[in-house]
Amino acid sequence: MPSKPAISYVHVTKSFGAVKAVDDVSLDIAEGEFVAVVGGSGSGKTTLLRLANRLIEADGGTITVEGEDVRNVDPVALRRRIGYVFQSGGLFPHLSVADNIGITPRLLGAPAADIAARVDELLALVQLDRASHRDRLPDALSGGQRQRVGVARALAAKPRIVLMDEPFGALDPLTRDALGEDYRSLHRQLGLTTVMITHDMTEAILLADRIAVMRGGELLAQGTPAELSNSGDAYVLELLRTPRRQVERLNALLPRSGAA
């Protein structure tokens, strides 16, 4: 493991009224790592993610990004250097695909020609046809295409860190699988650090290097899938049982020879 963590949470807490959304969480995410945060709704996983780019401010504890305490960094500047993929895209409906992708470079004051070149590059990267997609409005895209644009937008300002909020949750299984795989290779190719939120343990196992499990604001366990399976926590084991059962049933139901 590299020495300096890209993101580090140290005894971080955050409450909304009486509800402790994040309760004394400490978690390091190493540079180049792909970490999935898994938990049900209300587990605090989205809050944990948003604390990193100060979409939400912590009540206590310390969060550092690339060694800097986020409280000392201007939140707008911080968000511009961290990519963020929103649930179901979060694309601006009044802006074309190209304008959506180019928004952060534009905010950073990049020249129009550079932005245009970068947009083309990103469209190729997320495997969208430039000619047929560039000038479309988000409403004219399929769910999967929209999420590819969302990924391209997050990468536009060449961030080293990407945060993803249930990015593939609303997609059909085939699209979801393809997109997950494609992103995984981008992550490796670009040397990104990625934190992805998901409620789906199978997805987490397939994509992430390491998994953090949250429940009721607490971090129950963290580690590689193999490490997690040795966990003594009943909830963690319950979460892991689902993909296992699926594999067993799939193996029983699908004739092996028929697999393509």
Binding site: R79, R80, F86, G90, F92, H94, I103, T104, L108
Partner: protein
């Protein structure tokens, strides 16, 4: 003569560039000002529920004030403001016409713009505002790049509503001196010129409809993100504005402006005076339909150059006198008093247009009523109608006091309808005008006032302070002084109550001049 070949359609058409241009100008300015104030307020209060509620409540209250009253209120308000700026800074401005009309209409336009602006901004999916933050926008960038563009269709719908309201309400700005399509309607109602009334209604309705459709095109273009639609709508609006404004451009020097109040006699007299000035080689226009409280101030401020008022009116309203003097004495004293304000009382026209209690001749004879004193005995079983101001005027208080008048009921009516109402028995007595031709037409009688409760109302010609030394003007008007007797004026007024081409103020003014020259 058929309805469609009536020459008054043509006459109406000749006024169209002027009326329409001014209507569009004041509406456009009001809307622009309304937007400039309302949109920032909507943006500032979008996340602040308490100020937002107060703001919307205030705008709603403004909306409940009738348009005519709101417009009328702005005149004294601005007059006051003008006198304050004159006293403190030595500069004054005209409280007449464009400015009060624009301000009142701007206020009127605020509610739909505010409401839709706030609704539009608050209706944006919170996830998109979060996304704007997440990609690194500042609050300001989020507003400009995301929130405003997304709220625009809803805002546009509000602007559209406001535009239609403003265009409709602008027809009511005629009495405070702003020329508009309302000039047709006010003049038409007063002179029973239904062609004008219809023309004015249709013209303003068409204008409102056209603007509504074009703004609707822009709105749907924004909603569907269709540049073509938005562009067509915007081009249409621009074309409309240019087409209506250009014909009135560069007409700043209108020469002498002859004012007229809102009744037929005044329309006729202003046309007569305008004709005299033009005959003397002076350029002149008539500005008609001015409210009776507005017109004197307009003269004093020099917004109009001359008009005809009535001695008793100024005696009560300007000098605040309640005592009553004989005709000549009252005019002489008035002349001295007005001179202190540099207003020239050039002279009397010859007739008097006083209030008089009027009833059907037959009924008066049957009841043995000749004077107001005779009437008093029957009043408790009778109803009386007067114009909109009569019952709040000192004459009414004086009449009640002098004769102990107590009527069963009193009603306010449009002056031109009063005579028909009393002739048909709908009311028993009316407070009519002695110079009205309808008295003879409906076989009515004006009752004597033996106790002189009603002051004399000589028609007097007034000149603005800046025209005090204008010899050409005075010479041009001289042939009218003392020449118009009550019989002539009554006949002129009777003609004006007809509903044909010969009943237009212009035609009657020509007839009058032939008669008195």
């Amino acid at each position: 003569m058929s309805f469609f070949t009536d020459p008054r359609w043509n006459e109406a058409l000749t006024h169209l560039p002027d009326y329409l241009g001014n209507h569009v100008r004041v509406s456009l300015a009001a809307l622009a000002l309304g937007l400039a104030v309302s949109l920032p307020l909507a943006i500032l209060t979008r996340n602040r529920p308490a100020p937002r509620a107060i703001l919307l409540a205030l705008a709603s209250i403004v909306q409940t004030v009738p348009g005519l009253a709101l417009l009328a209120l702005f005149y004294p308000l601005l007059l006051l403001a003008a006198s304050v700026t004159l006293a403190w800074f030595g500069v004054s401005f005209s409280a007449f016409g464009f400015l009060p009309a624009m301000l009142a209409l701007a206020l009127y336009s605020m509610l739909p713009v505010l409401r839709n602006g706030i609704t539009g901004l608050n209706g944006i999916d919170p996830a998109l505002i979060e996304a704007a933050k997440g990609v690194g926008m500042t609050q300001r960038q989020s507003l400009v790049l995301v929130e405003l563009p997304l709220a625009l269709p809803v805002m546009m719908a509000g602007i559209r509503t406001a535009a239609v309201w403003v265009i409709g309400t602008a027809t009511l700005s005629t009495p405070i001196g702003q020329t508009s399509l309302g000039n047709y309607i006010f003049a038409g109602l007063q002179t029973q010129n239904w062609v004008f009334v219809l023309f004015g209604c249709f013209a303003s309705a068409l204008l409102a409809l056209a603007v509504d459709q074009l703004l609707g095109l822009i709105e749907s273009g924004l909603r569907q993100r269709s540049r073509l639609r938005t562009g067509f709508g915007a081009a249409g609006i621009a074309a409309l504005v240019v087409a209506t404004l250009v014909p009135t451009m560069g007409r700043s020097s209108q020469g002498y402006v002859v004012g007229a109040k809102t009744f037929a006699e005044q329309y006729v007299l202003s046309a007569l005076m305008r004709d005299r000035l033009q005959a003397a080689g002076l350029s002149a226009t008539a500005r008609s339909g001015l409210g009776s409280s507005v017109i004197f101030g307009a003269l004093k401020a020099g917004d109009i150059d001359l008009y005809v008022d009535y001695s008793g009116t100024l005696w009560a309203n300007q000098l605040h006198r309640t005592d009553i003097k004989p005709r000549a004495e009252l005019v002489a004293e008035l002349k001295t008093a007005l001179a202190k304000d540099d207003i020239t009382l050039l002279g009397e026209l010859g007739f008097e247009n006083a209030y008089a209690l009027v009833m059907p001749k037959k009924k008066a004879e049957a009841l043995g009523i000749r004077t107001i004193a005779d009437l008093a005995a029957h009043a408790s079983t009778m109803s009386i109608a007067g114009d909109y101001e009569f019952f709040s005027r000192p004459e009414w208080a004086a009449l009640q006091k002098a004769y102990g008048l107590q009527f069963r009921a009193q009603r306010q009516m449009q002056p031109d309808f009063m005579y028909a109402a009393v002739a048909s028995g709908e009311v028993d007595v009316i407070a009519g005008y002695t110079s009205d031709g309808l008295i003879a037409k409906y076989d009515l009688v004006a009752l004597d006032d033996p106790r002189h409760a009603i002051p004399p109302y000589d028609a007097i010609l007034l000149l603005a302070p800046k025209r005090a030394g204008d010899a050409r003007l005075k010479a041009a008007l001289k042939p009218l002084l003392g020449k118009i007797d009550i019989a002539t004026m009554r006949e002129a007024n009777l003609r004006a109550s007809g509903n044909d081409a010969n009943s237009s103020p212009d035609a009657i003014a020509k007839w009058m001049w032939e008669k008195i020259r």
